[in-house]
Subunit: 157 residues, 2 copies
């Protein structure tokens, strides 16, 4: 059933994939860290602010769905963003289980300071728009495959 010939090759490939994805993720992080540091943001906090800027206001639940983060991660993160003065959190009046997140005035001003970050980072990568789009598509394809695989494993292979 299993092909013995490919076994070693497959193992090598998997190992390398693990390594390089891990490395890519941290390289991305390392590139943004100093740039975002100037604004007083971490990378995950930047993702939250990007979402809030675009959507205007949204609940913690929605934020978690968009960013794939649970409350255990978002609660303390949002608390820090609130303490820094960038966002405001308040219980929804219609559904008191929900908490609505909004940018403060200071948070909105931050958007202007963050405006040239994409250009700085992207131009630094030396990739053109076509390559970036391709990469984006590839990553989406992989993520979907992984999600499908995870769901399949959950339901007993």
């Amino acid at each position: 059933m299993t092909e013995r010939v490919d076994s070693e090759e497959l193992l090598r490939l998997e190992r390398q994939l693990c390594f390089v994805l891990h490395a890519t993720s941290r390289a991305f992080d390392a590139l943004y860290r100093p740039v975002l540091g100037e604004l007083g943001l971490t990378y995950p906090q930047y993702l939250v602010m990007l979402t809030v800027w675009e959507r205007g206001e949204l609940t913690v639940k929605e934020l978690g769905r968009v960013l794939r983060l649970d409350s255990g991660t978002l609660s303390p993160l949002l608390k820090r963003l609130e303490k820094a003065g960038f966002v405001r959190r308040e219980r929804s009046r219609e559904d008191e289980r929900s908490v609505v997140v909004r940018a403060t005035e200071q948070g909105t001003r931050l958007r202007e300071q963050a405006r040239d970050i994409p250009r700085r980072v992207l131009s630094a990568t030396g990739l053109d728009e076509q390559q970036l789009s391709q990469l984006h598509a590839d990553l989406i394809r992989v993520t979907e495959a992984l999600d499908t695989a995870a769901a399949r494993l959950e339901q007993g292979e």
Copy 2:
């Protein structure tokens, strides 16, 4: 100087790239988590064991270079692996600053139990070998670009 037309498009692209890379990384993690959990390993611990299995023995320094991790991450991680009985750490006799990491007998037995993980995970992704190789190459290319970019930013744009 800056092209106003592309600005919004670029911003949107960067945002999506940030999001999806983050998501891919965590999807990968989530896929491995339950499988590795059966062996009592986390994903980073698995990467360490893969390296130790392949190299036989290596110093913490070398491990850090291969996995792109510093001692602040590796020290406690290795301590946990040692406590679990999978590796042994001892000061090098030639250079007492270095610590050599080796698999224990139990750690070697673990390798056999881990042997079918790559097949399980890879087959679950539904990607064929050619696609996996392509992805691997893409990620390497991006990581190198990001590293170059980071170095360039460090030296003042």
